[in-house]
Symmetry: C2
């Protein structure tokens, strides 16, 4: 499904007026009752804000309203007094509770007309992607009825395209609420459109992913660096489970100056936290680990108890991971630890499932069973139940191994199951990364 | 840390005026730059909206603004023209970028005064909870400086209490942005206060989770039902990967009438889509499957290739899952399918890793290896690479089994790796659910 035209004009739409104010202020309006009764957590706004920030557009407000005509109109009126760019998401589906499209058409003074290119795309989707040839209903076809005064932003994966309107030198962009569809349109159409039509300052971000040091300790360490930082540069701390991402942002009118400034500061920053740096690119830990394994032509397996397959799931979410990841044994029950990993029943009986000895045997077991260069093993008590005075909730043992040696590590985490699971996965992957790197140094 | 007094009056605050409008409209203002650059996903608003809905208060809007005086004042002015209740979160921390408290104090015409009870609480926190006796800094002590015209809402886990103000018959409640602290104050102080001081209508939501039918088909089927629906009731479609959640909301003054109306309509709705209903509660598919297994005192294992451990990870994210889930073999490499699951090399050679025969053998293999009542096996091509003309990207084979029989199913999905993986996991879990239910009927 190659997408060559990222947006195209309909009928009577003329030339868009470029936004060329000194600073472009944006506002995000999210539409949907589900946002106001707390059924859905809005992740779209964060994505949009990030993307706009990357190209030098500042988001000043975000507003969420229900599927109500009055509320949507009021938001459009109010936000356009403040912002030059208004991004709307949601309210474009085929069902009766979606009222956004006709409302926008009317608000901007257009008429709904069937767009043949969009109709053909909807039918192609049903025939070739959903594999339900001829199953388009009138309500699906109606999604090709679009205002004749908008720029259409094609939706490669879905039936509702995005729409771009202009009114009184304000640009309004309406996108579907399904996160993946919204993201596709945003990346393929919205960003290129804005880059072409808006004069924005030059912005460069550079990120450093660190692990093994808390946010406050990092901040303490970086006080002199922050104080000496030029005013056109900004340092942000983005804490994640078990890691902190540091981002430097440089803004200015001159590309050469901005580039040089950020390079110099980024180099200084890296030198200050060098022992904690996982990567100096904006990428995930599992991608870094995967690249390391590929470079060493090595393979990996995992034996997971308390993480329940999360580490395997993170590793395999990376395209191409079958080149280095062979598999995992999720040994939730002790029986599985014995049968599939060869953990001795005496170890389980005397030391317990959550012990250094057990993860040691798990790591050796999966290494042998799946015949890999490296293995990771984890066993812990994630909560809310299962803790004992000797091993409270949050106790986790991790082992990383190759055929010569096993390295173990104990964590004491908190009381939140989801957080504990995520954090264990991150710490285990980082331990493996350090294990491989240490080995290479000898 | 027993919390007996949930809120208390400061100096010159008089009697709060009860909100007794016909319907109480609320608005949520979230404050913080991190929300506008996409660094933080706002989960507080969803929690607050749910809680308010439960007691019959409708949230009409949510607004996010940065740590800027002008933006916060504008939001306060605007939201109070619409809403009788305004909930604010964020901006109450001890660092320099938090400006909310002095601003609110000034906005409502009060003066900051040191509150001794709050100061004592802060010192107790440092001594007994954070285990850093005597470590309170002036910036921490300053958190006990509170407006003399608010009701203080104590924060058992944190240093910044909530504050309740009244202006022109509008109630404003300001809470810290740390999710757990906000939730504690909301549950202990805000809800009881609102229940005591507001006359609210009854709101009841009921949800139905469906699988195996698309949103449009469902909507088509429900046209007559929607048309006959009483005006006090509202039906919403909430699509998810491979599933659609249907939600009916009923609103009214009389609890008995509202309850009866929603029961009748919900019953009708259920009957119309009965073959697609997964659960009539607001819960996840993996929770439904888990309960079914518990009730039958059965156990489950999974053999996952293309989902890479996601099904195991979803199952084990449910507390108590160790009672029915024994483990998984994530057999990403063919070698793992042979060694750990006993898939025959001749099957892999003649039929391929993505075939009915292979998932059949995987399902039997893991059932035997982990000695469980049921098993799920999946193998597919998730993309972006790996497709062939005969087996394009998106081809997935699924098997569910018990010791007597194996049921297989083939999916043809799209081109998106993440979406394919999620959807496969949902379809596989639903197949198992149907397999177990069908078995029980004989």
């Amino acid at each position: 499904m190659g997408l060559t035209v990222v947006y195209y004009y309909t009928g009577n739409f003329t030339v868009i007026q470029a936004l060329s104010v000194k600073e472009i202020i944006a506002s995000i309006i999210t539409i949907g009752d589900e946002l106001l009764i707390g059924q859905t957590i809005d992740t779209n706004s964060a994505f949009i804000a990030q993307q706009l920030n990357n190209i030098g557009i500042r988001v000043a407000r975000r507003v969420a309203v229900g599927d109500e005509e009055f509320a949507i109109r009021k938001a459009l009126d109010e936000e356009s007094t403040l912002a030059a760019l208004i991004i709307l998401t949601g309210g474009l589906g085929p069902t009766a509770d979606d009222i956004t499209k006709p409302l926008l058409c009317n608000y901007f003074g257009g008429t709904l007309k069937r767009d043949q290119a969009t109709l053909a795309h909807i039918e192609k989707l049903f025939n070739e992607v959903y594999k339900r040839p001829g199953a388009t209903l009138p309500r699906n076809q109606k999604q090709a009825d679009l205002p004749d005064n908008c720029i259409i932003l094609p939706n490669p994966r879905g039936t509702a395209p995005g729409m771009l309107f202009q009114k009184k030198n304000r640009i309004f962009i309406s996108l579907p609420g399904v996160p993946q569809e919204m993201k596709d349109i945003f990346t393929a159409s919205v960003i290129p459109f804005l880059q072409k039509n808006c004069k924005t300052p030059f912005i460069i971000h550079k990120t450093l992913l660190t692990a093994g040091i808390g946010e406050s300790m990092l901040a303490e360490k970086l006080v002199p660096f922050e104080e000496s930082l030029d005013k056109s540069l900004k340092l942000a701390y983005l804490p994640q489970y078990g890691m902190v991402k540091l981002r430097i942002t440089a803004t200015g009118a001159d590309q050469a100056i901005v580039s040089q400034q950020i390079e110099t500061s980024f180099h200084q920053l890296k030198a200050l936290v060098t022992e904690h740096v996982v990567t100096d690119k904006d990428e995930k830990l599992e991608v870094v680990v995967g690249r390391l394994l590929l470079r060493k032509q090595s393979t990996l397996s995992t034996a997971e108890s308390c993480t329940g397959g999360l580490i395997a799931s993170m590793l395999t979410a990376v395209p191409g991971s079958s080149n280095y990841f062979k598999g995992s044994v999720v040994a939730y029950a002790n029986e599985a630890k014995e049968n599939l990993l060869g953990v001795m029943s005496s170890t389980l009986a005397t030391k317990g499932a959550v012990s250094e000895e057990t993860v040691h045997e798990m790591a050796r077991g999966v290494l042998k069973q799946l015949n890999t260069t490296y293995s990771i093993a984890v066993s812990g008590i994630m909560g809310p139940a299962g803790g004992t005075p000797g091993k409270p909730v949050g106790t986790v043992w991790i082992a990383v191994a190759n055929c010569q040696k096993v390295k173990t590590h104990c964590l004491q985490l908190g009381f939140d199951r989801t957080r504990n699971t995520q954090q264990t996965a991150i710490v285990a992957l980082n331990l493996l990364r350090q294990f491989i790197l240490a080995e290479s140094q000898f």
